[in-house]
């Protein structure tokens, strides 16, 4: 029987065990942040040909690692599909979920989760083939939709078409991959999902210019990072590592000029970068946590443009995700 005990010992290497002193201490001890991300979602979490992960959500994880450990590369990514994401978070397989998760009342209150902010304001839209000649959602009567399971999408479609008294059909698949395949093979007329995803999907289609995202947005989808309930210190760190990036953009601090800004006279910048006040200590982090984030990851505007902005294949406008000072919704409470 000894061989089986040996083998099971080897298998135990795959079972993680961690003391639950508090997520911050555990993370410091492990030396990396356990972050759950989308398996593959262009612009938000994708694997480059070099095998690295990149994207908006990935940069969120990196910001946490920069704040806690001082090194943005110290992240262990766990790719998750929609169905398993909350279980992974509550079981401790991951400590923060950065995976385009819509903040809803039910999720916030009945799943034992806390939403730590909104890193992308999204809404559900429709992707159609130009050859079908559809110009707006009102013409979608009788259409067949492809949807990925495990999302709020199927509920929104049902609500929208019921409210507008139109007929529709849905085909629900477990994987995003199968959704795209079925759309390409003509099984359905429309893909409906968060608009951000639709732009991503369009950029991976054979002929991106042959497909359009319709102007209608039928739902509010505030997407943001999620943590477990019951660890407020960790909750705060996720919240403020994100806010730091938004605040930095508002104050004009970028990864390029952050070293110079350290000597700025502006009290707001001083407090953000930790040369004044004790923002870091309040969070249980070093004083320069925000400096590390901005230096290694960038401010919100930078990560937006780098991953999904007009110079990327996704070509997304800032829109709702512009700073509040320019008419958008991105707004950080003051660092004070």
């Amino acid at each position: 029987m000894t061989k089986f005990t040996k083998l099971s010992l080897a298998a135990l290497a795959l079972v993680g065990m961690s003391a639950t002193a508090g997520t911050l201490e555990d993370t410091k001890k492990q030396g990396f942040v356990k972050c759950g991300v989308h398996v593959s979602n262009a612009g938000f979490s994708e694997v480059t040909s070099g095998g690295e992960r990149k994207g908006m959500d990935v940069d969120g994880c990196r910001a946490v690692a920069a704040a806690v450990l001082g090194d943005a590369s110290k992240v262990k990514y766990t790719p998750l599909n929609a169905k398993e994401r909350f279980a992974a978070l509550s079981s401790g397989e991951i400590d923060v979920l950065y995976r385009g998760t819509t903040w809803t009342e039910t999720r916030d209150t009945s799943l034992g989760l806390n939403f730590a902010g909104v890193n992308y304001y999204d809404g559900q839209g429709f992707l159609v083939k130009n050859s079908d000649g559809i110009k707006n959602a009102a013409e979608l009567d009788g259409a067949t939709f492809c949807i990925q399971a495990g999302t709020t999408t199927e509920l929104n479609v049902a609500d929208y078409f019921r409210a507008n008294k139109m007929a529709y059909k849905v085909n629900t698949y477990d994987s995003n991959d199968q959704v795209i395949k079925s759309y390409e093979s003509g099984r359905c007329d429309v893909i409906t999902s968060d608009a951000s995803q639709l732009y991503g999907i369009r950029s991976t289609l054979k002929d991106p210019s042959g497909h359009t995202v319709l102007p209608e947005i039928i739902s509010k989808e505030p997407l943001g990072p999620v943590v477990r309930q019951g660890d407020d210190a960790w909750f705060n760190i996720i919240k403020w590592s994100y806010n730091a990036m938004v605040e930095a953009e508002e104050l004009g601090v970028t990864s390029q000029n952050v070293n110079k800004m350290k000597t700025s006279d502006s009290p707001a910048i001083k407090r953000l970068l930790g040369t004044e006040g004790n923002m870091g200590a309040n969070l249980g982090l070093s004083a320069d946590f925000a400096y590390n984030i901005i230096k290694q990851v960038g401010n919100y505007g930078e990560i937006f443009e780098r991953n999904i902005g007009m110079n990327t294949p996704l070509k997304m406008k800032r829109g709702l995700n512009d700073l509040w000072t320019r008419g958008g919704l991105q707004y950080s409470p003051p660092f004070r």
Binding site: A10, L14, V15, Y77, P79, E84, A87, S91, E93
Partner: protein, 361 residues
Amino acid sequence: MAVHNQKAVREAPANTKGIIHWLQENLFSTPSNIALTLLGAYIIYSILPPFLQWAYFDANFAGDSKAQCTGDGACWTFVKVKMDMFMYGFYPEDQVWRLQAGVVLFFLLIGFFYFSKSNKLKIIAFTSYMIVAILLITGGMFGLEVVETDKWGGLMLTIVVAAVGIVFSFPIGIILAFGRASELPIIKSICITYIEFIRGVPLITILFMSSVILPLFFPEGITFDKLLRALIGITLFQAAYVAEIIRGGLQSIPRGQYEAADAIGLSYWQKMLLVILPQALKVAIPNLVGAFISLFQDTTLVLIIGLLDLLSMVGVAAGDSAWLGMETEGYVFVTFVFWAFCYGMSRYSNKLEKQFNTELK
């Protein structure tokens, strides 16, 4: 004394030998037989030539980009370029030698099994192979870099899942089979309940259970790797089937063997492990190979819980924007790989079965 001259051997009548006769007998004996032959010929004609045309004569093998696939047929260039992905998933390129070493060692092990006579040595060799293989694949010791399980994929993952499933389900299956054959009523009913429960539900529900519910069973802080959860599910599933096969073997052992073992004063475990089990296993081997074939096919189900086995790699590889629309080639290639493995094993099991049949006669 009369001399008997042996007469020259006469040839068989012309109409009972030769190719013409064979054709007559086997293909054109009656009108209905002729009709069947024509039907069969038509089926072959309508499937085989177009397939060969597509898969071979019009196919593209050269080059390394989609643009070089100019013919009407299959674009095997795709499979060629993505071969590493189909075989090893996202396993780091500079570490792939570890997997190749594992395969080489496996063939050495087979060779050793072929020549070695000692069962003890075989068990030692097998155990050390398992340990070395696990070390090679996961790393983390002897200066080997750790390769996280989310990088595992392709054929390698399929084989890992199937191998772990069969190796670990085996001892559990034996214990369950003993339990079911036992005279102790409570043990017996526990084993029957387990076996019948598992055999009554589809594997996919067990996989869902192990991926969604299993984490709830343990205190906070203990987490299972996604792959490990799937492996637990598959092992628990397979164990019930192995148990039933071994029970079949146990039932074929004559009562006298049990009684003889009792008579010479062996304990229960001595009797079962030294006398009964070796004989039962021998009878059960063809069916165990059969169960392994189904397990090998069942590994594709891990696709549904998001692991990237050989079958899911088709989607991943054809999702690359440089190679869109290559699913057909991917599916045909993967089909061939699975078929070759399963067909090879089923021939092997047929051979074993025949061998045992003659031994019993």
